[in-house]
Symmetry: C2
Subunit: 496 residues, 2 copies
């Protein structure tokens, strides 16, 4: 059938969708969510159809979303040929998973390929997530999934051994150990090509924080150069283009907060496999408000990470840490960058320093250093780690000589004080996060929260609990509204 293109000037943000008039759909024996193949000369594209009974797509027309126009280069009012196209095989495999069967490597590959190429609808991807959630993945399936995600992106081939890497599972504000650990490991002479994400739900992702010190978006060739010079990098992971499958799955999982274990494992280890890591340390913070709240689940995940890592040829170790309160004092890109510099200058927050040294020590030990922890302390205290950070900043195009106090913090602030004498009993990480984001983080780097207290600290009446900084006065006001007497961020209890 010949149809006239009607460009819709709207993007679906994903699936390749075209819209047919209900009469044409009937004529072609097509229903919503079926596929059609569109042809124009030698060009062709398979789209998922939506059907309208309204008049905005008339009989004989085919409405194309911008995502389709981008790939299938046609103009408004051009004629295209449309024909019925069978559903992709991946739908059979998704149903197989819903039926509780195991999937083969080929089947998982097909599903991921189709997701990445926008050949599946959100409904179909939801069925995949539901299958993963209700039926689970075997270790082998999780390995296939990891490999499929890796294959969907680019890889960093460094020709080095060992290649170290680390990852912290989210949910703890301020937990910015990465720049410190990377500096120590690289200063010890080991390769650590660290890629990080920007914030999705947190006040700042590692990439957001490092970006205060140096650019983090580099092409893969440039990343190799940085590593060649410094043994390390601290870059945004986007260059590896692994995110496509991940992002799409994350989006459809959100409404029900599904996050099936198999996806979590594969999503994390794919990033490690893509940089050909040989030794990987995974940090699972537990406690209220973290991603993995309970020790039992963390222990189970620990086992799976180690087994799956082995299957993928990576020596993987897991630590379970306390995530019930923020690490460090700063929360937000600039405030965290200050904390990081301070620790490397041997004057930063003790909790951030301790956790970073603990992790660096384990990684060094995994790489064969006898007393890893001791070596990590030496490297930090001697200033070698700081020097390494300066090298990395320079290689990435930042100013290596920036001082902590030179990092700009938002000029508008709101100081939150205690109402009573007491002790800090509880810090609501989720509310802290929400408030800092409303105030403008992480887009506005100087926005964030500086915490003056940690759990169990004694406080007097009118002591400062935290300061909320913002680059924008109206956003600050908007954020402050969220801090009511009822939901106070730091709950201080009267003693005696």
């Amino acid at each position: 059938m010949e149809l006239k293109v009607k460009r819709l000037h709207i993007s679906s943000g994903g699936p390749l969708i075209s819209v047919l008039n209900s009469e044409d759909a009937r004529r072609l024996d097509l229903r919503a969510l079926d596929r059609i193949k569109l042809k124009k000369g030698r060009k062709e594209i398979v789209t998922i159809i939506d059907i309208t009974h309204d008049s905005y797509i008339k009989k004989g027309e085919i409405g194309l979303f911008e995502d389709v126009i981008d790939v299938f280069d046609v103009k408004d009012k051009e004629m295209v040929t449309a024909e019925h196209q069978p559903s992709p095989n991946s739908l059979k495999y998704i149903k197989k998973k819903l039926d509780g069967e195991k999937l083969t490597k080929h089947e998982i590959d097909e599903i991921i390929k189709d997701i990445v190429a926008n050949r599946l609808t959100e409904i179909e991807m939801s069925y995949f997530a539901a299958g993963a959630y209700t039926r689970g993945f075997t270790l082998y399936e999780a390995a296939y999934l990891t490999e499929a995600i890796v294959a969907s992106g680019k890889q960093l081939d460094l020709d080095a051994y060992p290649v170290l890497d680390k990852h912290s599972i989210g949910g703890v504000p301020g937990n910015r150990t990465t720049p410190i650990v990377v500096s120590i490991i690289a200063a010890a002479g080991f390769t650590i090509p660290k890629t990080s994400t920007r914030s999705i739900t947190s006040v700042s992702g590692t990439a957001d924080t490092v970006e205060v010190l140096a650019p983090v978006s580099h092409k893969i060739e440039k990343i190799k150069e940085i590593i060649k010079k410094t043994n390390a990098c601290m870059v945004w992971g986007g260059a590896l283009e692994l995110a496509s499958a991940d992002d799409k799955i994350i989006k459809i999982e959100r409404p029900l907060s599904l996050d099936p274990e198999g996806f979590l494992l594969a999503s994390i280890l794919a990033k490690k496999a893509a940089v050909k890591a040989t030794h990987v340390l995974i940090d699972i913070p537990i406690g209220k408000g973290t991603k993995i709240e309970h020790i039992k689940k963390a222990k189970k995940l620990e086992r799976k990470f180690e087994q799956l890592g082995k299957l993928l040829g990576m020596n993987t170790r897991v630590i379970i840490t306390n995530g019930e309160q923020p690490i460090g004092n700063g929360i937000g890109p600039a405030l965290e960058a200050r904390d990081v510099l301070m620790v490397l200058l041997n004057k930063g927050p003790k909790d951030l320093r301790d956790k970073s040294l603990y992790m660096a020590g384990i990684l060094l030990k995994m790489a064969g250093v006898k007393d890893g922890k001791k070596r990590a302390v030496e490297i930090l205290e001697s200033g070698q780690a700081y020097k390494k950070l300066q090298e990395i900043i320079k290689a990435q195009g930042g100013n290596p000589n920036i001082k902590p106090e030179e990092i700009k913090i938002g000029k508008f602030k709101y100081i939150y004080r205690t109402k009573n004498q007491g002790r800090v009993e509880y810090i609501d990480n989720k509310l802290l996060t929400r408030v800092a984001k409303l105030a403008g983080a992480p887009e506005e780097k100087g926005t964030g929260i500086y915490l003056n207290v940690h759990l169990k600290d004694k406080v007097k009446k009118n002591d400062i609990l935290f300061t909320l900084y913002s680059e924008n006065q109206s956003k600050l006001k908007y954020a402050v509204k969220e801090i009511t007497d009822k939901i106070i961020i730091v709950n201080s209890k009267i003693i005696g």
Copy 2:
């Protein structure tokens, strides 16, 4: 936050969707598929948000689909207030089902209410279907679901006893027993308020076929009048408005052909409960190409129908019939209507007559008639059933005196003949259906297939196997292209 309405002139065909610019979304700490409440004066509406990074929705604007404009009566460029709205509780219940837990009546009610009111996205509905599919429903859950669907629509309160009803599960072309059974039952003095659907996947639905004889779309008050006059009706079920939840679920199930048993049971019995049926006969045809292909599954379904019917206060009986070939000779609205009239005039196809008498006999027996089958035959042979059909046609506004040969059949035709002498071994119901639909059925009432043979019939070379009729020459050509030598519709094997 204040936002300016941008009317999108596009309809989503379901979920209430508004589109935000990514900057505003960040500011409101919202992500795709979150909810916002929009207010304008006293009016308010909750919509699901989509986020665009393109420029077609600018900062400060909110794009509204037509579905939203229909409900939330605002104009292009008007200002509205937007605020974050928590997700509906039904999402928690859907997750509970995915986790394998049983749902309460209240929880199922909430889910169905939200589906009907377009408050759930297709992703979220898919999770519900996936939960139903992987975890199943208990009999009680299926009953709650049925009641929730009934409550979402209107009910036909007839103040009669008994109220008889029947239903055939689809997949068998030409299986048009309903008008015959209804005429017999009503002629016997029993109440049978039959509502039917139009075709979704078949060549003709009962409503499509009856419409050849009389109008089928009537308001609920008119339906009551028709029943008062005739004991019966044969109308399109749309008047009861039960379809909303059903249609939405059917749409999202299609890509994977999920059709969880609980939904099938509830969908069918809700239509019976809505007319307050007391005695219900369900026909499950089995055989290749039908909805329920295997006897084992049919038997299981039989038990569930009877149990669920009981729970809902309906005496429910199931018959499992042979569905491996079409019933009657005509397939398509007009050709089937001819068959129906012929049977009632005691000269129609024997298989259609036999099946109808069998079903009518059981229903009469269920209603307390001693030898139901014998009574059915008497009513048919004496012409009382035909007279009843005429009454119903008249009450519904049709011409009661129409003769079978006066029913118009498409004037373009294609005759399909045997190539060899042999015996009819196989009829591909799915291909027959596809071809008739491509030729224009059921929208064009005169389009369809007239079958000259049934399974096991002996044929000579060049005998007519079937004739394909169409109202439209180009559609006929298009349909004929599907009948290649390779996939022949009736496969005739040489004997001897």
